[in-house]
């Protein structure tokens, strides 16, 4: 994040002075190259010293009283669009942010070719954004939304931003209602949360959504499914340790060990969203259900609602987001004979489990063209007492985050 500071400052300055027309390179009649970018300079702190709240489970740093001053919300993105003609275009986007590895491969958000044979159809192939929920492929673009960050309870469990493959969108109008239907498929290999240098293979990944737009309203139903192709090395070691236990010592060995298998398991995410973007009122609501095919991560319900009201160039807002287990917390069925093994067996259950809610109060101030300043206060209530979930901890064992945490955040968001 250190290298990001001067870069972000330079780009923030650029946002105030740049005129977008200069970033367009005309290449004849309808062809052009467009170079643009976006970024967020974020500050955040909390009253928790040993637990850092993460933006999503792939986040490394998180927010705590001892986290870096330049917060986990900070990021810088650059995009090049090559418009060849009204049918064909290509887009490449790279984003620098807090993430498991600072490699070019990890920075590459999108790299795709888009083809529009006519007004109804669009096909994209390459690395494309994962469109699951109203803001999933816009989460890096702070300038695009009201909050300092998308609601953690909803988007925190969805660390995947893109996949390699393609999507097809069919759009049409019925009177003044615009409908679009999208289907996508591909594969992905993101870093596994809290495991350095380990990437999990996801293949296939598939899904789709239906969008309905009418005047200032937007409704969406979406689904995404994933199948995992690899096992986690740490979990595999745990599995073999459990399997070695003789039957008379631990009769549940076979059934417990099978619960840590990731290879072949499927995850499904279903969501419904409704947004009203009028003026001065704005509101957004999403509800989701996450199913996990393994035996240790709890299936959850997620939801959030935000309402904002514009007063001149300032838009205050209030939000609530929540995440709760659908079928309670999965448990190790019976105590293991050795304390070390018991702790190792417990850990995956606790690390992935969360049950919490957040009340947010904030404001966005559009004080200058292409620049917005946001302030936000979050009161996070951890309902459970046996999961680490969306937090990172620097302590051993399975220490609990405090029941209530206060998070203070400020961001400067820009596009250029």
């Amino acid at each position: 994040m250190k290298t990001l500071t001067p870069l972000l400052a330079a780009c923030g300055l650029l946002a105030t002075t740049s005129s977008l027309a200069e970033w367009n390179i005309d290449l004849g009649n309808q062809s052009r190259l467009r170079i643009s970018g976006f970024g967020t300079l974020g500050l955040a702190t909390s009253d928790q010293a040993h637990h850092a709240l993460t933006r999503d489970i792939a986040d490394q740093e998180g927010i705590s009283s001892s986290s870096l001053p330049l917060s986990t919300d900070s990021r810088l993105g650059m995009q090049i669009d090559a418009v060849i003609n009204p049918q064909w275009s290509a887009t490449v986007q790279a984003v620098l942010k807090d993430r498991p590895a600072q490699t070019i491969e990890e920075s590459l958000q999108w790299a795709f070719i888009s083809y529009r044979p006519n007004a109804n159809w669009q096909l994209r192939a390459g690395r494309v954004g994962l469109d699951m929920g109203l803001v999933s492929d816009q989460r890096n673009i702070g300038y695009g939304y009201l909050w300092v960050r998308p609601p953690i309870e909803f988007y925190g469990r969805l660390p995947l931003f893109h996949f390699n493959g393609g999507d097809v969108t069919y759009s049409f109008d019925i009177d003044d209602i615009s409908l679009s239907i999208k289907a996508f498929a591909g594969e992905a290999s993101p870093f596994y949360p809290s495991t350095p240098n380990y990437k999990i293979q996801i293949a296939p990944l598939w899904g789709g959504n239906v969008n309905l737009r009418w005047q200032d309203w937007h409704a969406q139903l979406s689904y995404v499914g994933t199948q995992l192709q690899s096992n986690h090395p740490g979990l595999q070691e745990l599995q073999s340790n459990i399997q070695q236990l003789p039957d008379f010592l631990y009769p549940d060995a076979a059934s417990l060990s099978s619960r840590y298998t990731l290879r072949g398991s499927q995850n499904h995410f279903l969501s419904a969203g409704l947004a009203y973007e009028g003026d001065p009122w704005r509101a957004q609501f999403e509800f989701g259900r996450l199913f996990h095919g393994n035996g240790f991560i709890a299936d959850v319900y997620t939801a959030y609602a935000t309402v904002g009201y514009r007063l001149g160039s300032v838009t205050p807002f209030i939000g609530y987001s929540t995440l709760w287990p659908a079928n309670g917390r999965p448990e190790v069925p019976s105590p293991l004979p050795f304390p070390d093994l018991q702790a190792a067996a417990e850990r995956p259950f606790a690390e992935s489990y969360s049950n919490q809610e957040t009340i947010s109060l904030g404001g966005r101030w559009d004080f200058y063209n292409n620049l917005a300043l946001k302030l936000q206060y979050d009161l996070v209530h951890v309902r459970n007492s046996d999961g680490i979930g969306l937090w990172r901890t620097d302590q051993d064992g399975i220490p609990q985050p405090k029941e209530f945490s206060n998070i203070f955040s400020a961001t400067l968001d820009f596009v250029f």
């Binding site: 005129s19 027309a21 007004a119 492929d137 816009q138 615009s178 160039s313 063209n369 292409n370």
Partner: protein
């Protein structure tokens, strides 16, 4: 006029939200454009990236004005009823999620006039008093 009345009139002029009366904004196309029949809603949809082609596969080429220019602010305010910041945020979401590319931006009204007079597919907007016979006015925004 009585000096006091003059002063009061000046105050009213300064205090009124629009200040001095502004010229209208003309939506312009090429004199031989085939887009002479398009509606105000279609113009909104074209500039918001929602309408990519019209009947008979005619593809409009919207031309926008400079990022923070007063005319651009007035254009979107009049056309969509939204402040410019909301339009910019809308485009940031569309563009950086890789869904659509915003209209090409030109540095000033003169460039828009020139581009529209040279391209049959172009749709632009300029101040009413800048309109020349080289373009055709579709309608005016107050």
């Amino acid at each position: 006029m009585h000096p006091l009345a003059k002063f009061l009139l000046l105050l009213v002029t300064l205090w009124s939200p629009t200040g001095v009366a502004q010229s209208r904004i003309a939506i312009i196309v090429h004199p031989e454009s085939s887009f002479t029949d398009i509606s105000r809603k279609q113009v909104v949809d074209i500039f918001m990236g929602r309408l990519l082609s019209l009947t008979n596969n005619r593809i409009p080429l919207p031309l926008d004005q400079q990022g923070g220019s007063p005319i651009r602010e007035r254009f979107y305010e009049a056309l969509t009823g939204r402040p410019l910041a909301q339009i910019n945020a809308y485009w940031a979401r569309l563009m950086f999620s890789g869904r659509a590319t915003p209209p090409r931006m030109l540095p000033d009204s003169l460039s828009v006039l020139q581009a529209v007079s040279q391209n049959r597919d172009a749709i632009g907007y300029v101040e009413e008093d800048r309109v020349t016979p080289s373009v055709r006015v579709l309608f005016y925004l107050e």
